[in-house]
């Protein structure tokens, strides 16, 4: 029943050797061995710790926002404080959690292992990217400690460049710097995937996780420099009063929006594509069945990455963009919906005639599909120009992108973390608690964000500190949901930490998954593989071959 996934020259792993096996975790215990490591697995752990700290911070700001919105009057926080809270929530969650979340942690850990390499192509660049991330984070934290930023994470000019009196500069510098950590990660992944694959591992034998990370890396490299230069120009305008975007100085604020969204729309795909890769791995593993439509899922990742660059104008429908440009961007936005839909259909089809079990990672993956479907469908609402005029900048948009980013990216992150946790740390987490947490997150999420769709259509604008009375009931529902969601987030944090010491020892392949990363012991040794594996088969070699009729399922 446990089908050996891929033939390799690797010797069958020996369980429980007499003295503790050397792993990347116990190779050295000194602080410098962590802070100066060039091992992609250790860097992944460093990233994991840092992004969780930022996630907690961003979550606290979100809690402040939701608590303020319990009542229509602005009574808990001052207007300024509230504005800083949602701004810091956005900046931290987008730039310091969501963008690096899966690529820098799971991606860093798994990309070399999945392709049978000993490390990323440029290990020192990898470490550098973490330090750059921390440096950027330090600037942003300095902005928080120094009194916060109140521009919204979008930094729209001329408010950000001329009018805001808050700490725009340190936050902008922080984002500018952090951009380079993304660029270096993307560069490293692209080169690694091109040049370091194990013998026999052709492009169409790559796991879908790798395809997703390849597509993500393309966006990192092509998009991130544009936000860097745009933020740089905002900083220049703010510091030196030279006009680039401020109309009082001859500039055009809409140009800022174009440049900003040229990155920030593809950035949405940076957040969701790795999640799609994770879900593809989990679904096929727990259905014990090859993925349905492998090449369509693989190529749709690349299609999303490329098409994602030509739809940014749909953020500008009400920004005095020309009617013709709005129509062009609208039709292109509908086109980019298709590859996402194709993925969803293929995941569902993968379940057909599978042998499905429902461990925690699978629950997260199924939740992802459901929530991403709603997020994607409401994206169609927003892409329809005439409709967008009503709901643009309302809670409808807020709900939509949280369905993609939290319902999508965060659920995938949690699912992936559970799925590969035994591999990363060699310990099993308590399954019952993990299942409960997955269900709680799902319920809490929907209760938080579904009411916001209704609020948005009713016309409640986003970033409102106080609001008319008739919106209160839905806001209370949303805040209630957020508190459930918070419990759902705290649970994995606790039991995963607990499992590091008390969890059952994990075997090298607890899920009986295919894929090269499961061939090495858990946790893996520093060099990943004792010998370079040789790949002779397609990925996801699950299932039985006995029924020819199944192939013609259509």
């Amino acid at each position: 029943m446990a089908v050996p996934a891929i033939d390799t020259t690797l010797a069958p792993h020996t369980e429980v050797p007499a003295k503790p096996r050397k792993t990347y975790l116990n190779a050295d215990y000194s602080v410098s061995s962590w802070l100066l490591t060039v091992d992609h697995k250790r860097i992944a752990v460093l990233y994991l710790i840092s992004i969780i700290i930022f996630f907690a911070l961003g979550g606290m700001f979100a809690a402040g926002v939701r608590l303020e919105l319990l009542t229509p009057k602005g009574d808990l926080l001052q207007a300024d404080t509230y504005n800083k809270f949602f701004t810091m929530h956005g900046i931290i969650m987008v730039f310091f959690f969501l963008v690096p979340s899966i690529p820098a942690t799971l991606g860093n850990f798994l990309v070399p292992m999945m392709i049978g390499a000993r490390d990323l192509a440029f290990p020192r660049v990898n470490l550098l990217s973490w330090y750059i991330y921390i440096l950027g984070g330090a600037f942003t934290l300095a902005a928080v400690i120094g009194g916060g930023v109140d521009t919204g994470w979008t930094f729209y000019t001329p408010y950000s460049s001329t009018y805001s009196t808050s700490n725009v500069m340190p936050a902008a510098i922080g984002i500018f710097i952090t951009g380079f950590s993304s660029i270096l990660t993307g560069l490293n992944f692209i080169v690694t995937i091109h040049r370091m694959r194990a013998p026999g591992l052709t492009w169409f034998r790559l796991p879908l996780f790798i395809w997703a990370h390849y597509a993500t890396s393309l966006i990192f490299v092509l998009g991130t420099p544009v936000i860097a230069i745009t933020i740089f120009l905002v900083g220049l305008e703010r510091a030196l009063h030279i006009g680039i975007f401020d109309p009082a100085l001859g500039g055009d604020p809409v140009l800022f929006q174009h440049l900003f969204w040229f990155y920030s729309h593809p950035a949405v795909y940076i957040m969701i594509l790795p999640g799609m890769g994770v879900v593809s791995e989990i679904i096929t593993c727990f259905a014990r069945k090859p993925i349905f439509g492998y090449s369509f899922i693989a190529l749709s990742s690349v299609a999303i990455a490329v098409l994602g660059f030509i739809v940014w104008g749909h953020h500008l429908f009400t920004s005095s963009e020309s009617v013709y440009a709005a129509l062009i961007f609208s039709v292109l936005s509908f086109v980019v919906a298709i590859p996402s839909a194709v993925k969803v259909f293929n995941w569902v089809a993968t379940l057909y005639r599978g042998a499905i079990s429902f461990e925690a990672p699978m629950l997260y993956a199924l939740g992802f599909i459901g929530l991403f479907t709603i997020g994607g469908l409401t994206g169609l609402f927003l892409a329809a120009v005439g409709f967008d005029l009503h709901v643009h900048d309302t809670y409808f948009v807020v709900a939509h992108f949280h369905y993609i980013m939290v319902g999508g990216a965060v659920l995938a992150f949690l699912g992936g973390l559970h799925f590969w946790w035994p591999k990363m740390f060699g310990r099993m987490y308590p399954e019952a608690a993990a299942k409960a947490a997955a269900v709680i997150v799902f319920i809490g999420f929907n209760l938080t964000f579904f009411p916001q769709f209704i609020l948005g259509y009713l016309g409640m604008p986003r970033r409102y500190h106080a609001y008319p009375d008739e919106f209160q009931v839905l806001n209370v529902l949303s805040t209630a949901g957020a508190s459930i969601l918070a419990v759902g987030y705290l649970m994995p944090f606790c039991y995963l930490l607990w499992s590091l010491k008390y969890g059952a020892v994990a075997s090298s392949n607890p899920w009986q998954a295919s894929g090269l990363e499961w061939l090495t012991p858990s946790p893996p040794p520093t060099e990943n593989f004792a010998e370079t594996p040789i790949v002779t088969q397609d990925p996801y070699h699950y299932g039985t071959d006995d029924d020819a009729e199944a192939v013609h399922v259509a």
Partner: protein, 101 residues
């Protein structure tokens, strides 16, 4: 990795350099001639030829694999996408009269 046979010879280098200097002189000269709408295309055309010369010879694109070509090409394509779609907004403002004149 050293392919002495097809290594960049000093001679080609000098030839390319001479061409680049000539093109620079031409583009400066052309800038002082009024060619109405043609000035910008000519200046950018010459610049593109110079860029291609530098890439093809100095940056060894002629000995590079296809992937490098694809990379360089794609950076150009994405830059053009950014400029052209932004301009599609800027240029068509006011075509319909409203909004966003």
């Amino acid at each position: 990795m050293s392919h002495e046979a097809d290594a960049l010879t000093v001679k080609t280098c000098l030839g390319v350099y001479a061409a680049l200097v000539c093109l620079t002189a031409i583009t400066v000269g052309a800038a002082f001639i009024d060619m109405s709408f043609l000035n910008t295309p000519v200046a950018l055309g010459i610049a593109s030829v110079k860029a291609l010369l530098v890439m093809y010879f100095f940056m060894e694109l002629r000995h590079s694999n296809r992937l490098t070509w694809v990379l360089m090409g794609s950076s150009g394509v994405f830059l053009l996408i950014m400029i052209m779609l932004t301009m599609s907004d800027m240029l068509s403002r006011g075509w319909l009269g409203y909004p966003g004149k």
